[in-house]
């Protein structure tokens, strides 16, 4: 079914030059509208002819959506800012290096030049059954083809699966959660600001979307407060190949250590569930403890509690456990612990 045909289905192309125009267009079109940011997700859908919107709203002409701006309490990144700009921005590299590191590990240089941070956090699931246009739960159907004994589910969820077992593929999402970022959304009712972790949805809440944007809504910016500026950061992404690949699991943490103990910490993982997971239990458990291998070991075990592997992705449990362990205790302190079925 999913054959890249090169010729996309016909649609009207709207190229607004302001946020309000874009939002109004999207509101008018409702389910028939499609937001085009960098196109790295959109063109797959359109060329596969799985999604056939009537109107594509191209955001590339809206200057307000681009660039990194200083705010009284940190920075604001326009949703259409490219990942390369995020990676290279001096303030981000100096104060919020966690985000720069995560963005730098997205796909390939060419894709980072074109892909945007708004698109990276809003991209759709990469489950191939879903992307192939099969009538799975996420596509509005009544089955998950990946969650079957024969299903190819090596890349799928180990936590919080609910009928659908697809995962969120974003690299920047856990970094933004760790940095306590706020997502600015323009809706028909005005501007709405949500915590990064609340931007994402699991299948238990809505099985057809990975984020809270409804038709007519537009992610306009991401604000990062200075709370975690200059903190001790850790980002690690494990993937099948070293470039141009989605994460099997990634981890992002921001930590403030005082007198040898973890004073404050935020940690999140992605690739393990349909939404990036902030590990609040781990944060609570390691606060006040030294950031060493012992604490990391404990944190790793805690992080994977409740994980349920599918037929082919049990490896994700030790992978996530060890990533969390390394995020807390540091790479040099961590040793690889094989999966023992726990």
């Amino acid at each position: 079914m999913a054959v890249i045909r090169d010729v996309m289905p016909a649609f009207e192309l709207a190229q607004p030059n302001s946020i309000s125009d874009a939002q109004k267009l999207l509101e008018q079109q409702g389910e028939d509208g499609w937001v085009l940011a960098g196109g790295m997700d959109s063109f797959d859908w359109l060329k596969d002819r799985i999604k056939k919107p009537k109107v594509v709203v191209d955001l590339s002409g809206i200057a307000e959506l681009k660039g990194v701006r200083a705010t009284p309490d940190g920075i604001e990144i326009g949703a259409m800012t490219t990942l390369t700009e995020v990676v290279l921005h001096p303030v981000i590299r100096e104060k919020y290096k966690l985000l720069a590191e995560s963005a730098e590990l997205v796909a390939s240089p060419q894709i980072r030049n074109q892909g945007t941070i708004g698109g990276n956090v809003s991209q759709d699931a990469r489950c191939w059954y879903y992307r192939a246009g099969w009538p799975c739960y996420r596509a509005g159907g009544n089955i998950c083809y990946a969650d079957t004994p024969e299903g190819r589910n090596r890349e799928h969820a180990i936590l919080h699966a609910d009928r659908c077992v697809a995962v969120n593929p974003s690299d920047t999402a856990p970094a933004l959660i760790a940095l306590d970022a706020k997502f600015v959304i323009r809706t028909s009712k005005g501007e709405r600001v949500v915590d990064a972790e609340d931007y994402f949805l699991g299948p238990d809440i809505d099985i057809t979307r990975l984020h809270i944007l409804r038709p007519g809504d537009l992610l306009t910016a991401i604000r990062i407060p200075s709370t975690w500026a200059g903190a001790q950061f850790y980002f690690e992404k494990v993937r099948d190949r070293n470039v141009w690949d989605f994460p099997l699991v990634n981890v992002a943490s921001a930590m403030v250590v005082s007198s040898g103990s973890i004073e404050r910490i935020r940690i999140a993982v992605n690739g393990a569930a349909a939404r990036p997971l902030r590990l609040k239990g781990v944060e609570d458990a390691v606060r006040g403890k030294p950031p060493n291998a012992t604490t990391g070991e404990m944190a790793g075990k805690l992080a994977v509690q409740g994980a349920v592997p599918l037929q082919f992705n049990a490896y994700k449990i030790p992978l996530m456990r060890n990533l969390v362990k390394r995020a807390i205790g540091g790479v040099e302190e961590a040793t690889w612990t094989p999966y023992n079925g726990q």
């Binding site: 079914m1 099969w134 009538p135 596509a139 509005g140 159907g141 009544n142 089955i143 998950c144 083809y145 969650d147 079957t148 699966a161 609910d162 009928r163 949805l201 238990d204 809440i205 809505d206 349920v308």
Partner: protein, 295 residues
């Protein structure tokens, strides 16, 4: 406006996947229309109920002031079923109307409660209650014809008083059985597609077509239940039905209401003086076997 949603499965076959969700609004509007039309009819056009004379006179003083109608067990079943049913409807349809929450777990738990309570009810009604009291009998059908003829202004003798349940109750019960069992049976199979504590998932238990039909039937039963439950709540709140509603709470109905609407020969109750209160046998369909109820 296709009432079903279709998809192409991996084998390129067109299969139904579920009902179109606008049917939720169709059911709600149908339920509301019924309520509005009935309320207008009852307020402005309905004539007082007329019943034929009793074949055997009953001494009111021999009928207890509180006529037992629903046992505690039957009432408990009814209210457990009601809670489960409302939970099922809200968890099924509110997410489709935009209210998002983790509905699947609550839905299958409520479904399991409903299934168990219905299984209990079937056993209880079959072996410990007057099973036939809830099914239409010949007198019901004859009286339905008479009432229809009289409604249309044609000559017909007045109908007899009701047995334990009026025909409308019996027909409603039958409709609930059809919709409820459809939803339950398909729902039990659908639990093979989600993770529950009951059995391992097996999404390939049936073909895509069979699964699709199952989802469609589940959906149709679900939207049908929306309209049926709306009607049930409406009648439960109507003033002339209050005695029946009250009996589902307290277990009994007033003697006056009993004597006004029900035929002691068709629904006998224990009286204070057995030798004088026993109603005479009827020529058609008279039964005296049951003192309990069928819920």
């Amino acid at each position: 406006m296709d009432p079903l949603q279709w998809a192409i499965d991996p084998w390129e076959k067109t299969v139904p996947i579920h009902i179109a969700w606008f049917l939720i609004w169709v059911a709600v509007i149908a339920g509301l229309l019924f309520i509005i039309v009935h309320a207008i009819y009852a307020r402005y056009f309905a004539k007082p109920k007329q019943f034929g004379p009793d074949a055997a006179p009953v001494v009111p003083a021999q009928i207890p002031e509180h006529v037992p109608r629903h046992s505690l067990t039957a009432r408990a079943f009814h209210w457990i079923m009601a809670v489960a049913m409302f939970t099922l409807l809200f968890t099924a349809f509110l997410p489709k109307l935009g209210l998002q929450f983790d509905w699947v777990t609550y839905h299958w738990i409520a479904g399991a409660v409903l299934t168990l309570s219905i299984m209990f009810h079937i056993i209880h009604a079959s072996f410990f209650m007057d099973f036939w009291s809830i099914w239409p009998d010949r007198i019901d059908l004859r009286d339905a014809r008479r009432r229809t003829l009289r409604f249309m202004g044609k000559p017909a003798p007045p109908p007899e008083r009701f047995a334990k349940y009026p025909l409308e109750n019996k027909l409603y019960h039958a409709a609930i059985i059809a919709a409820g069992l459809s939803a339950i049976v398909t729902g039990v199979f659908m639990m093979f597609r989600v993770r529950t504590i009951f059995f391992p998932r097996n999404p390939y238990l049936f073909s895509d077509m069979t699964w699709g039909m199952m989802y469609v039937l589940h959906g149709l039963a679900g939207v049908g239940l929306i309209a049926l439950i709306m009607m049930h709540v409406y009648f439960g709140l109507r003033p002339e039905k209050r005695a029946i509603t009250k009996s589902m709470i307290f277990g009994w109905m007033d003697r006056d209401f009993y004597l006004k609407e029900h035929d002691p020969a068709r629904w006998p109750v224990e009286t204070s003086a057995v030798e004088t209160s026993a109603p005479p046998a009827r020529s058609q369909g008279a039964r005296t076997e049951g003192l309990t109820d069928a819920g």
